[in-house]
Symmetry: C2
Amino acid sequence: MATLSDIAVSAAINCLSAILFLVAFAILRLQPVNDRVYFPKWYLKGIRDSPTSSGTFVKKFVNLDVKMYLKFLNWMPAALRMPEPELIQHAGLDSAVYIRIYLLGLKIFCPITLLSFAVLVPVNYSGENFEEMKTNMKDLTYSDIDKLSISNVAPGSSRLYAHIVMAYVFTIWTCYILYNEYMIVAKMRLHFIANERRRPDQFTVLVRNVPPDADESVGEHVEHFFCVNHPDHYLSHQVVYNANTLADMVLVKKSLQNWLTYYTNKFERHPNKRPTTKTGLWGLWGKNVDAIDFYTEQIETLSKEEEAERERVLNDPNAIMPAAFVSFRSRWGAAVCAQTDQSHNPTVWLTQWAPEPRDVYWDNLAIPYVELKVRRLLMAIALFGLTFCFMVPIAFVQTLANLEGLQKAVPFLRPLIEMGSVKSIIQGYLPGIILKIFLILLPTIIMIMSKIEGFTALSTLETHSAEKYHLFLLVNVFLGSIITGTALQQLKEFMQQSPTEIPKTVGVSIPMKATFFITYVMVDGWSGVAAEILRLVPLIVFHLKNAFLVKTEKDREEAMDAGSLTWAVSEPRIQLYFLLGLVYCTVTPILLPFIVVFFAFAYLVFRHQIINVYDQKYESGATFWPDVHRQIIIGLMISQFLFLGLLNTKRATNATYLLIPLPILTFWFFRFCKGRFESQFKRFPLEDAMKKDTLERATEPNLNLKLYLQDAYVHPVFKGSIEFERPRVVDEEENSPLVATKRSIHREGKQGIQEDSSEDIMETPEGGSKAGPSSRKW
Amino acid sequence: MATLSDIAVSAAINCLSAILFLVAFAILRLQPVNDRVYFPKWYLKGIRDSPTSSGTFVKKFVNLDVKMYLKFLNWMPAALRMPEPELIQHAGLDSAVYIRIYLLGLKIFCPITLLSFAVLVPVNYSGENFEEMKTNMKDLTYSDIDKLSISNVAPGSSRLYAHIVMAYVFTIWTCYILYNEYMIVAKMRLHFIANERRRPDQFTVLVRNVPPDADESVGEHVEHFFCVNHPDHYLSHQVVYNANTLADMVLVKKSLQNWLTYYTNKFERHPNKRPTTKTGLWGLWGKNVDAIDFYTEQIETLSKEEEAERERVLNDPNAIMPAAFVSFRSRWGAAVCAQTDQSHNPTVWLTQWAPEPRDVYWDNLAIPYVELKVRRLLMAIALFGLTFCFMVPIAFVQTLANLEGLQKAVPFLRPLIEMGSVKSIIQGYLPGIILKIFLILLPTIIMIMSKIEGFTALSTLETHSAEKYHLFLLVNVFLGSIITGTALQQLKEFMQQSPTEIPKTVGVSIPMKATFFITYVMVDGWSGVAAEILRLVPLIVFHLKNAFLVKTEKDREEAMDAGSLTWAVSEPRIQLYFLLGLVYCTVTPILLPFIVVFFAFAYLVFRHQIINVYDQKYESGATFWPDVHRQIIIGLMISQFLFLGLLNTKRATNATYLLIPLPILTFWFFRFCKGRFESQFKRFPLEDAMKKDTLERATEPNLNLKLYLQDAYVHPVFKGSIEFERPRVVDEEENSPLVATKRSIHREGKQGIQEDSSEDIMETPEGGSKAGPSSRKW
């Protein structure tokens, strides 16, 4: 195992690489030519423009002001300067709450670090179990760090009571901070929602599994059903077309157009030579043709096909999927419909809040109930396989990274390995890197799995992917590293142990793996975050596009890739740090400062990124917070069970009983918070809906909602392209004779008033959903 | 362990006692004097009257018609004669579905019994592992029955594939039947609800945790909140008074009145001697006084106190609990309110369907959110303690019942024990009886625990008690008997075994406990059911009351105790038989016929009881079915895991892998059914609400709903006693300026029409809730 000096080398390497990244970032961001890579958010908001051409030609690309280079860290205070309300206004609630997760980490771990250094480190250091430990366990290697950890406390020692008391203090502190944070985020969400502008999804419900009807089309069936069952509130609906083929065509066409632009540019620069291309795959083989003509022709052909397909989709009744977006006269009506059961057959007429238009995942809108259930089953089995079979390669590679094992496996490498610096590098850097490479491949697979599961909104896809990824990290990175790291063969034994034995086995290896996790925090946390701010991939891509595809200012706008927070990947990783901190705070406190540094650094970097770079694809109004809360609690409970197991091996059985209430109370706290807060993130209460409705009715009595909602939920490929044939609005009063006539008369009157003022539309749905801050539900 | 002849003795004893009970029942039920004990249902329905006094004096009490005694079993075909629709009409859906559970048992186990006798019994019998088994395991005793069980198949034998195939067949058959039954019950419920008459709870929602308001009373606050947030649908509300003291007083007064009646009767029979009583506790000591005067005076004092308390409750604002029954203009409005969140703080304004008035558990209506959560936590811990500490005495007693152990423990009893018949009785009868006595004490404790947990309806109390009791039976009767029965010390080892070891340990003891469970089925099942039909306790109580308290025909009516299905006790017991059947169908098929006989006999008896005796306190419309379904699936999965463990010990590892998909698919089936059917039992879909509303509006356009609902949810102690001061109905239009005026004008018009016809009430709420079949939700 690594010694303190190994750790120091690793820390030096990682600090160095982090600083290199930061310096590179500091230099690159000051070059005007990179401005669109490092400040795309401002361009998208229209506040910043391309550098003016007032200066010299060189100044347009390179910044020559030396003074600015000296202050290369000045982005840090700048990142902190923007106050939170302005941040929400600027980047949305999702982003603002996302960086609060890092802040939460600081809030939890700063006091815990101080306390454990003040109490546990002295208790451990004076424990003097070290010599005995060294002699007793020759098969397992111990290091200096263990002198500061619980390993240095003799079994059965009364010093362990200090650890137990601290375990209680840490748990109570964590729960207190979690509760406060939940309350704050809930308030932020409420405030955000209350101040939101009108948006189409506030009035709209997604209806799935519309049952087939022999006499009526899907559109008519939806219309009649909601006219009858929500007579006072139903406004209109939008059927969903199966436009997946069409969407593919649009994508292909866009790529062809890129090639055309590329060759046109090329031709313009060298007007004497017309560019050629080959007709085969990727232009690698086939007949040589004139490139510009070839692509122009290809695009024309595709355009015609696209037109035909568009016609087919719009006119073929089979292209209409059994799903629809149903809009209501008021937010109240939509809230009611989204929260209630419509039919006594719970597999048809399923209603849920419509995601905001940008958030809809169109491919999954029409999966029948039974198929959905089968898909879930298959994906659950696949997830199990993925989680538990991924372990094998990781375990193999990690055993290699154990130097002693490596020397035995490849003896001829021994002289090289025994060189001091090489040894340190291998031990300090390699295990983290190996793990990292494995993990890069994963999120894509997991996202595909979530898509197969059939969720209908991008935000849901992300949260479900995050959950899967969290499970994966927990089993493979955390448990996998702890168990297979000490001995690969323990894996099999582990499966045959009793439930009380498992925490013991894991618990006893935890102190020994502290050094591994310290290097992991530095590689994945420190360097990883520093790499994030450098944005190397978007930088390269932007300059490539700029060189070959950009002709107009609009092209340059499109070449800019602002990126966004990748929730499905980032959040589970943060959770891993929470877990490490909570597990090690009672065991090996020396790990805590590394975690705190990570949280502080990441907070800075992501605050900067959110202000200057990321452009969120959708806004969910922090609906993800219950997941964050739950996963931290899971980490807390895991840490408690492992600590219980560890204490058990310390021959402190009586002391152990003192710890049993801890997980029970933590679980109760979780249930309590769930009941207290969760529904604020999942459902929309009628009181608030009514308030917003009433206010709107008072301020804009002449609003024509129908027109406002008309094209909000049209599939993106249809948008703006052709005059879209909408189903005729059935006159509900005539067609639903069961509805009492008194109501109908009244409603007709009201409708009349509204329709008289159809000129008075204040904003279009696109405008409403793109400009300004917005959340999933007002 | 018991041999085949032990079983035969036990069967003989139990058959005899069952037959004795049946004969006693046959004789007693023919006596006119017992008519009200054995046919109370008909009296309550008003179809049957007290025997006419046309015959001789003797004939009024004793039936002298000999022919009727000969046909002493003729109640059985009579019980089967009533067709199901009529049964639902007669006894309600709850009862009709309850006996379908027994029918379900027959449907599942009849084919399984046939199949396992045709396939598994021959396979086992020709296994010839018996001699080896006998010599190998001297510490554990085997019996002849094991020749027919899987114990007789040699480890690693390919005969085990027959068992695996059968396990699949049995599971598929069980799931098929379960699915069908779920569908049938769901349809019955739908049909029942659709045909139901108007009932107050169809329009009413129970609102709990009304937040305190500085300026308004609870009533005003509720009124304003719902006027604002459900402006088109809110009708009226009924605040809840804390009348628990008053209810106690009413109870005490009733008991005093009973004593007065008793002494008055006594005086009338012996007019020359005025009865006396003592003033102390239970009339045992203290001053001697004239009994009639004493009780008359006591009742008068109490009446005055009661009146004062009644005044206090009605006028003291602190006696109003922060809960209310809110009624709506339509079922649609109530369905919406019950299914949606009202406020963004999910701990206030909690809405749920109002239980039907008879079903309300008034004591629990005002528990604050945090207190409720703490109560749940405490009761969960208490349940854990109850479940796992009850094991100790049972284990002790059961070890006694193991004859060999008994001989060792009390050697001087050896001559007595070795007498053949005594031995058989002890072995066959005792363990079952002991278990039974333990279990009689339990349901009361569990019900108290559920009450502390804070549920607001009797039906919910019963289902939650049933769940707790089910857990208890599972752990203590089933697992407890299997593990502690073979060896008490296994209990401790059991806690330290691995998750894969537990099914093995339990699995290997299962075949050995078959004889114990056969006697258990006979004692608890056969004799227990026969005792149920005899109704010994109600018989005695009725005759005591009849002798001392009855003066008028109305008194006799009240003395009659029809009883009802005790769901919290009966259902978990049935589940135990399902579990036994499912576990033993692959292991020891000889147990199956005993289970089948139990289901058939119980079906007959309970059908008879439901037709002639029980009077249900409330009607929930079979909302309990999802619980029944879930618990059978739990039993199925337990049986699969135990079978897996058993096979593992048979050295058939490869064969075992074939079984792993079984529990996974079963669990998926459970999830599938839950999604497919459960919401039909929990929520009320808007489509059906609207249908019923529309129909009613068409058939009774002049109904005054407000008057109909006025007193539906008044606490029973207030009912009919005094003119109950109702809060003035706030004129909502004036007081809620936020509501758009267009709507208000319209509504005022509508209300006007309704109130003009306030004379046209069709039925009172009490009438609606008592007469005819009725379910919780229409």
